[in-house]
């Protein structure tokens, strides 16, 4: 099952930011999204995750196959690491959070409340959620923010295993993840050139 984007245009705040984006992602592949601040990486990923409607174009993906990792980690500060992770496992109907805890080096912190984690530990917990989601396509928005180099390498390992197991990933990031096998998609050519207005079709009458 492939994940295919065709001629996609996405909008934010009523303005089209990217247009004509096309991409095919097969199992085992990773694609890195590049582009300056504000070009629309987050917007693109949110659209692909189904959180906002596309302006034009089509997104084809197997149903319920996408795990979205946003800027925010969605952690509850009064719950412990284990409770946080177990909640997401239950929501996704998977079981066994143990491997995810171990893989993301969180086993020692299992009973710590999320409020007492450092920023990097919080981030690791947010990434562990991807593992318990059990979904093949990962859409990640700057997953390594506030991680130190050791943790970045740990994450790259996890990612490589995920790809080897038939998963795929689309990652927006500014830094080098140490994944030479990943394709790079530069978004600059898709930048919308003014004048194209958002709300589907009809709104063009406002110009």
């Amino acid at each position: 099952m492939e994940f295919v984007i065709e001629d996609l245009a996405v909008a934010r705040g009523g303005v089209c930011v990217l247009e004509g984006v096309r991409l095919a992602l097969s199992p085992g592949q990773a694609v890195i999204l590049r582009g300056a601040n504000g070009i629309g990486k987050t917007t693109l990923l949110r659209t692909l995750a189904g959180l906002q409607p596309a302006l034009r174009g089509t997104i084809t993906a197997p149903p319920e196959s996408i795990a979205y990792g946003a800027h925010a980690d969605g952690l509850k500060s009064v719950l412990t690491v284990e409770e946080n992770l177990a909640f997401w496992a239950a929501i996704h109907g998977t079981s066994g959070i143990e491997p995810a805890l171990v893989r993301m080096n969180l086993a020692d912190l299992r009973d710590r409340r999320a409020a007492n984690l450092s920023a990097g530990q919080k981030r690791r917990l947010g990434l562990a959620r991807l593992l318990v989601s059990g979904r093949p396509y990962w859409l990640l928005d700057e997953p390594t923010v506030s991680l130190d180099t050791a943790s970045v390498a740990l994450f790259a390992d996890v990612l490589r295993d995920h790809l080897a197991a038939g998963g795929a990933a689309l990652i927006a990031t500014h830094i080098d993840l140490g994944l030479p096998e990943a394709r790079v998609l530069d978004l600059s050519p898709f930048k919308a050139r003014g004048g194209v207005i958002a709300s589907r079709g009809f709104d063009e009458a406002f110009l």
Partner: protein, 218 residues
């Protein structure tokens, strides 16, 4: 779904979750009104059903913004929207959790406050029953209001303004049940209408709320 319910209850019970605050507010209103109105028992007895219902309604109201706002701010709502459970279910569960945390304690505490307000003997049973039937509706309606205002900063006052008019039928029938019950009159009609509103709200509003959430997440 059960996991979501458990998590919401757990969050409410841990520090900062606000469990019990609604109850305290209910108590405060029941205390403030006699302070403002004056201590005569007969007047208080007459207004007790109405005041208790208005108090329950306000206590419910003040905790509404917690239903979605915290999850929205820390990104959980985004993730729940992409999770394999329907957003309508999420809304219904969260409204139910809100009722367990806010509405149910109010139901249990109401008889005690009835004493403070000199509620006539015959009214207590009806008070509890009407609140039991009515407050789940309040939570469902409130969840709709909370979904409408979820993206707004400090939208508490706006939320009140949107939700309170929607509470009017529930309030009228609820207070009417208690009033009639306390006076020994027949209560079937308002009781049925109250139950009808709650059932209708529980059945239909989660869809509207989920739609509002989706719009706000966009």
């Amino acid at each position: 779904m059960i996991a979501l319910l458990i998590r919401d209850l757990r969050l409410a019970l841990r520090a900062g979750g606000g469990f019990g605050l609604g109850l305290a507010f209910f108590l405060l209103v029941a205390v403030l009104v006699p302070l403002g109105v004056g201590p005569e028992g007969t007047t208080l007895a007459k207004i007790a059903p109405g005041v208790l219902w208005v108090g329950a309604l306000l206590a419910c109201l003040l905790s509404l913004d917690r239903i979605f706002a915290l999850d929205f701010e820390d990104g959980t709502l985004d993730l729940l929207a992409t999770a394999p459970i329907p957003l309508e279910g999420v809304v219904a569960i969260k409204a139910f959790a809100h009722w367990l945390v806010t509405g149910l304690p109010l139901v249990l505490a109401a008889p005690v406050l009835g004493v403070l307000l000199h509620l006539p003997q015959a009214g207590y049973g009806w008070l509890v029953l009407s609140l039991l039937l009515g407050t789940p509706g309040l939570s469902a309606i409130g969840a709709f209001g909370a979904a409408l205002t979820v993206g707004l900063k400090r939208g508490g006052l706006l939320l009140s303004l949107l939700v309170l008019p929607l509470y009017v039928p529930t309030l009228i029938f609820g207070a009417e049940v208690v009033k009639r019950g306390a006076a020994g009159m027949a209560v079937e009609v308002p009781l049925l209408l109250l139950a009808g509103i709650t059932l209708g709200a529980q059945a239909a509003l989660p869809f509207a709320s989920a739609l509002a959430l989706r719009i706000n997440l966009r």
